[in-house]
């Protein structure tokens, strides 16, 4: 870039192009969102299968830990490596998105694994409300409509789940994982490839 005397129009063009270029480089992708949606779906589905086999009580928490713990470790190293390898700068947006994800994960895990008996039949709706808040905030932060819509549907689903027989709460969670995480995550990946986010 030379230091020639350029016009105000050219100045504005430099500003908008640079900001756009920077935004493209720091965008989130849907990889982690799809991963967690799939993990929640798999854990709930497998718990139904374990219940059918009469092994539910024995493996409930252990099975959840087996899948979620490696998921958490993978997420930590994936985001750490990605920011190091791609030289991603620190942004307020990135901090918000990361904090929301980790706060949901940790609180959800503590509620399900430690206070599951205290919270009883309200566990699934409460988890769905937490997930809805996380999804909506992340969607609004990255200005991605499918995540915002997914989050709103999750919130409505959470309220509806209070009215459903607790035996079917697992289906609400699986449906929630599908519409709130997996589908928006896939759409986010497609949009990123097309450069629309």
């Amino acid at each position: 870039m030379d230091e020639k005397n350029f016009t105000p129009e050219e100045s504005l063009l430099i500003i908008s192009k640079t900001i756009e270029e920077t935004r493209k480089k720091i965008q989130e992708n849907g990889h982690i969102i799809i991963l967690w949606g799939s993990l929640i779906f798999t854990v709930i589905l497998s718990q139904y299968i374990l219940e059918l086999l009469g092994l539910h009580k024995k493996f409930d928490i252990a099975w959840t830990c087996i899948l979620f713990l490696p998921g958490a470790i993978y997420t930590f190293f994936y985001t750490w490596r990605k920011s190091r390898k791609n030289n991603i700068p620190k942004t307020i947006l990135g901090t918000i998105v990361g904090a929301m994800g980790w706060l949901f994960g940790l609180n959800g895990f503590v509620l399900a694994a430690i206070f599951g008996d205290h919270i009883g039949n309200a566990l699934a709706p409460v988890l769905l409300i937490l997930l809805a808040i996380t999804t909506i905030v992340i969607g609004l932060s990255i200005k991605f409509k499918p995540l915002i819509i997914g989050g709103i549907v999750l919130n409505l689903l959470a309220i509806g789940t209070f009215l459903v027989n607790p035996a079917y709460h697992g289906f609400s969670l699986m449906f929630g994982a599908m519409i709130g995480l997996i589908i928006p995550g896939i759409l986010l990946n497609i949009a990123k490839k097309r450069g629309n986010v």
């Binding site: 350029f6 105000p8 430099i14 500003i15 640079t18 720091i26 620190k90």
Partner: protein
């Protein structure tokens, strides 16, 4: 010609650097170099000029035994950029 425009910011590379820093909290020297596609020496000179003007702060540390330069915008730099954009708009839309 454009007397109201801040001469520190009215340089293509310095303007690009400040535009990047308006988007992120802080970033590395190499991210600026990659995004602007400018030569390292030129980026370094312009970063020094912005630092001397008090528009940015530069932190030099070591990361995995390699030197790591981190750059962030100061309040003065942010205000100067906002003022620069306001003045640009006056040139582009003089009736407003």
């Amino acid at each position: 010609m454009f007397s109201d425009l801040d001469p520190i910011l009215h340089s293509q590379l310095r303007l690009s650097i400040v535009s990047i820093l308006m988007t992120v909290e802080e970033t590395s020297f190499s991210f600026i170099k990659d995004t602007t596609k400018a030569a390292a020496g030129n980026v370094s000179i312009q970063i020094n000029k912005l630092q001397e003007a008090g528009y940015i702060t530069v932190k030099k540390t070591f990361k995995n035994n390699y030197p790591n330069t981190t750059v962030s915008l100061t309040e003065k730099g942010r205000n100067a950029f906002e003022e620069y954009v306001k003045n640009l708009q006056k040139y582009i839309h003089p009736q407003k």
